[in-house]
Symmetry: C2
Subunit: 239 residues, 2 copies
């Protein structure tokens, strides 16, 4: 998914929802949804643009499911936690991604700000009415659900059957594919977040990264920045 030009980003922050993901919407993982027309008018009944500080919750597990959201800037994670504190992060969402799209009356996953971020809220019942009358919107919703499903299935394979280093390799390539063109990846999330996404501990994440650096597959110029030195090796790791 192409990142938006800075000017457009700025406009976005000003509550003008000009986006053009029509082409990419169907094919790519990032759960993008075309919620705006080309002329900039809004397709559905939106709520306000919301701002969240790091680690603030957009909604909790069990919260009434009234809205879903599109990331205007920043990064969001969705996750589930067991009552003994173990956490599984389901996905990370970056600029342009849509999350919080669930069918039940309550959110089954929590959503939290990984970094400072702004979100556009979409009222769920409004959008559902819209989908009922607008086939294209309904199609978009369906498409979005299927994309999420396929990605989650892929994630299950990862969690169930891959070792620590393989998990990290997969993660890095996934992150890379979402910041295309860039050879140096920015990791907006903590090691704990990565660990909870991959079903590992922070220590194992750290060790696996060090391992990859020792093997000259990656470089870690700073702690939150990764340079993929040997993509082929990474691809081979995930076989």
């Amino acid at each position: 998914m192409p990142t938006l030009p800075a000017a457009l980003q700025a406009t976005l922050a000003e509550r003008s929802y000009v986006l053009d993901h029509a082409i990419t919407a169907r094919m790519s993982w990032p759960p993008s949804l075309l919620l705006e027309r080309r002329d900039g008018s809004c397709l559905g009944p939106t709520g306000p643009v919301l701002h969240f500080a790091v680690d603030n919750q957009v909604y909790r597990q069990g919260d009434k499911n009234r809205s879903f959201y599109k990331v205007a800037s920043g990064v969001v994670r969705t996750c589930r936690v067991l009552n003994d504190g173990r956490r599984q992060i389901d996905a990370f969402y970056i600029s342009g991604d849509v999350f919080g799209f669930e069918s039940g009356a309550e959110h089954r996953l929590a959503a939290e700000a990984v970094s400072e971020c702004s979100l556009i809220a979409y009222r769920r019942n409004g959008m559902e009415k819209l989908a009922a009358t607008n086939d294209q919107v309904a199609q978009q919703f369906f498409s979005h659900a299927m994309n999420c499903l396929e990605r989650t299935q892929e994630h299950s394979m990862l969690l169930g059957r891959r070792g620590a280093v393989e998990k990290l390799a997969t993660f890095l390539l996934e992150m890379s594919s979402r910041q295309p063109g860039k050879e140096v990846i920015d990791l907006p999330m903590t090691r704990q977040d990565i660990a909870d996404y991959l079903g590992l501990t922070i220590e194992t994440v750290s060790r696996s990264l060090s391992q990859l650096e020792r093997d000259a597959v990656i470089e870690l110029p700073t702690v939150r920045r990764v340079c993929l030195r040997n993509r082929a090796a990474l691809y081979q790791l995930i076989s």
Copy 2:
């Protein structure tokens, strides 16, 4: 999900598709879809009833995605395998469940017969045309996709953050909920299948079951039959 009366099962095998899952379709995991009208007429363009012997493949990873299927009898598994042979089973499908519902041009998961089974095939392009003109069908498809998504997300939590015994406890309760009323569960799949579903090895599955039996939580009258002696203990395990 209620099992069908024997007479109805027989009729079904004769290519008459009288089913009535309308009420359960929206709420339960088993991915049920209402593909037949109450009067017995078929809602969409179906293919034939197909029969598969144990371990036969309904379709492979990469096969053209032309149909999806409803289980008339028997059990089916969907899975992905890595090229070194590691396998992750995504789900088991029993009588009444719909599987093979994907949006891409090719199947990303394989589907195989766990036991001898018969399936009703539905042509994908026909159903898509139908969905485009029939809102109720489109709604069913969407609903189905969301159900699958939620179940897969739950499964991710299991794979990433639960220990062996917890995994088994979850699995047994899940199986139990799909054979409601029965205190003795039939496991139609092998230990290897269970292992690949839970991200474990057969040995660990076996040991965990023995463990649970030693703790008087379950009983194993035969190797493929489990009796839940202490449901409360199982629920507590999954906390």
